[in-house]
């Protein structure tokens, strides 16, 4: 990745973060922490990795993307808006009656969404189905799925992980936004029991190729988000929940919290401060 390209993507991430916080404030509801931690992942996917065409959202040969952590919808909508799927202005309709931008992604409402999600732990199974379908059709469509580390506590994730490896899906990449913070707390209290710290080994044990990267490094993400003909790939992206705004980082209350006018101003000031 060239320095210029990196700077472009990083600028998009800063703009995306601001839009996420503004959109949630405008709607009076929504999730902030997860979209901020996943911003580099989403921007890298939509601007560097996915073979998609916003002008042809139903193009059969497009790569598919499943946002398994559906509550990060604002992050996805924001990046899709920046990519040209919808006007940036439309983000103001998020969560409103009649909006294409439903609280959780609804593929029947917004073209360009490849799957509806919201109930956690289900997206990877869908991605497995898409990847299997692509293999059967021989189309070369690649499938990417973004999971939260918290939802990896769901059993279905591991049903899907097992099936993906068994089917030898060489066109599937799962990326885990490993921000370490679920909505409230992890099961169990001892650090060793927190699934997040162990995800790489878990996917490896299920027969996946595992790549651990800095989830806020667009260059590293672009290198890692590549399928392997040998089978499914899991990218464990080390991230920070609420990344980019100092008072939101690593604070679980920002999982879903609406910024006050003063907080928004501070956030914007931080995001727009020269690096």
């Amino acid at each position: 990745m060239t320095a210029e390209e990196r700077e472009q993507l990083e600028a998009l991430c800063r703009r995306g973060r601001r839009l996420v916080i503004e959109t949630v404030r405008h709607a009076g509801a929504g999730h902030v922490g997860g979209p901020l931690s996943a911003m580099e992942i989403l921007v890298t996917l939509y601007f560097k990795v996915l073979r998609v065409d916003p002008a042809r959202p139903r193009w059969p040969e497009r790569d598919r993307f499943v946002l398994s952590k559906g509550h990060a919808s604002v992050g996805l909508y924001t990046v899709m808006a920046l990519r040209g799927y919808l006007p940036v202005e439309e983000l103001k309709t998020f969560d409103h009656m009649g909006s294409r931008l439903q609280g959780h992604p609804d593929m029947t409402a917004l073209e360009g969404l490849d799957m509806s999600t919201g109930s956690l732990g289900q997206g990877l199974s869908v991605a497995v189905g898409m990847a299997l379908g692509s293999m059967r059709l021989g189309t070369g469509v690649r499938v990417f799925c973004l999971l939260g580390d918290g939802e990896c506590q769901e059993g279905q994730v591991w049903e899907a992980a097992h099936s993906a490896a068994s089917l030898g899906l060489g066109n599937l990449v799962a990326v885990v936004d490993r921000n370490g913070l679920p909505q409230f707390a992890w099961a169990g209290r001892r650090r060793g029991e927190v699934v997040a710290w162990d995800l790489g080994r878990r996917f490896c044990a299920f027969g996946w190729q595992v790549r651990e990267v800095d989830g806020h490094d667009v260059g590293a993400l672009a290198q890692a988000l590549v399928p392997s003909p040998d089978g499914p790939v899991a990218v464990i992206a080390r991230t920070v929940k609420g990344k980019g705004v100092s008072f939101m980082e690593n604070d679980y209350s920002w999982h879903s919290r609406v910024a006050t006018a003063e907080e928004l101003a501070r956030a914007i000031a931080e995001l727009e401060a020269p690096a």
Binding site: P60, R64, V66, D106, M107, T108, D114, M115, S116, T117, G118, S119, Q122, G123, L124, S125, V126, A127, V128, G129, M130, A131, L132, G133, S134, R136, L137, V141, G155, Q156, E159, A160, H162, S163, S166, L167
Partner: protein, 324 residues
């Protein structure tokens, strides 16, 4: 009596696999029970084994459906309906994806497996899901017709299938149309409305009732959603209605019929089925006897619940009085 619905299911899967490039079947390690193994044997390329992981099964089916396939998912009805409810709701029904659910081993006749494996609530649960079509074929021939129809239908479809062979109804009218109820018998004193494999037993119950002087019609419904309303209301206009199903009396056929009758043509609806309880292990005859769904027991239940003295009804023949 011909083949069981499960054998017909396996055979029809082979037929569909050969006719439709968008066909694929996903199995959850039950193919030799559900008889999807017939497909695995005959058309292995159309058969995908996903192991004992039913939640994943539905997710994979949803993903395949977005890629242009019309996937069939084969498992026991209890697992599809209960374990997979969230996946069906969010991934399949909310997106109106063409996933076909073959609910094997529905009802009581599950080969001695007991209440864990007997789906007595699947119709109620599937029926409440928006966009879901719920088919309940009566016999082997109707099962084949329903499965063929389901493959081409829009949106998700649940097909309730029975493990064991049952007596055949008269041939399915061509073309198969789940939106139309089938009058198996016309009666002047009311109608028994039935669905699924119970319909043959209900028809036999009507014959027994006839011998006792109760002239009742039998209406078979090939689907409980959408409900064949025209025939149901025709029955309601004729007189009282008994619904008879191998399913809970709550929310299934009886619930569906009561909902439409109470709205369009208020009439007495008496629901016969499994009385808000679970099944048990046992042979089929003992189970049907215990849950009062044999023709004789259904006839008794209808007779005891008869809302008026049939002796006062003109039935065009010598009227007999029922027991006090």
């Amino acid at each position: 009596m011909s083949e069981s619905q499960r054998v017909v299911f396996g055979q029809t899967m082979v037929e569909l696999a050969r006719a439709h490039p968008d066909f694929v079947l996903l199995d959850g390690d039950l193919a030799n029970s559900t008889r999807a193994d017939i497909l695995a044997q005959e058309e292995p390329g159309a058969f995908v084994e996903l192991g004992i992981a039913e939640q994943n099964l539905i997710g994979v089916a949803a993903g395949l459906a977005t890629m242009g396939f019309r996937p069939w998912v084969s498992s026991f009805a209890v697992f599809l309906v209960n374990r997979d409810l969230d996946q069906l709701r969010m991934l399949v029904a909310q997106n109106r994806l063409p996933v076909r659910l073959a609910g094997a081993y529905s009802g009581l006749m599950t080969g001695f497996t007991g209440k864990t494996h007997q789906s007595v609530e699947d119709l109620a649960v599937m029926r409440v899901i928006p966009s879901m079509t719920v088919l309940c074929p009566a016999d082997a021939a109707e099962a084949a017709a329903a499965i063929r129809w389901a493959h081409e239908a829009p949106g998700p479809v649940y097909v309730r299938l029975c493990r064991d062979a049952v007596a055949d109804l008269p041939p399915v009218p061509e073309p198969y149309d789940p939106g139309r109820g089938r009058w198996l018998l016309r009666g002047s004193m009311g109608t028994m409305i039935s669905t699924g494999v119970q319909s043959t037993r209900t028809l036999e119950a009507a014959r027994l009732l006839g011998e006792m002087g109760y002239d009742l019609g039998v209406l078979h419904l090939p689907a409980v959603k959408p409900l064949p309303e025209e025939e149901v209301l025709e029955a309601a206009r004729l007189g009282p209605v008994w619904t008879v199903e191998e399913h809970s009396v709550i929310g299934g056929l009886g619930g569906a019929v009561a909902e439409i009758v109470s709205r369009e043509h208020p009439q007495r609806v008496l629901r016969i089925g499994i009385e808000d309880t679970y099944g048990a292990s046992g042979d089929n005859e003992s189970l049907l006897e215990h849950f009062a769904l044999t023709p004789r027991r259904v006839a008794e239940r209808v007779r005891r619940s008869f809302p008026w003295d049939p002796g006062r009804i003109e039935v065009g023949r010598e009227a007999r009085r029922h027991d006090p």
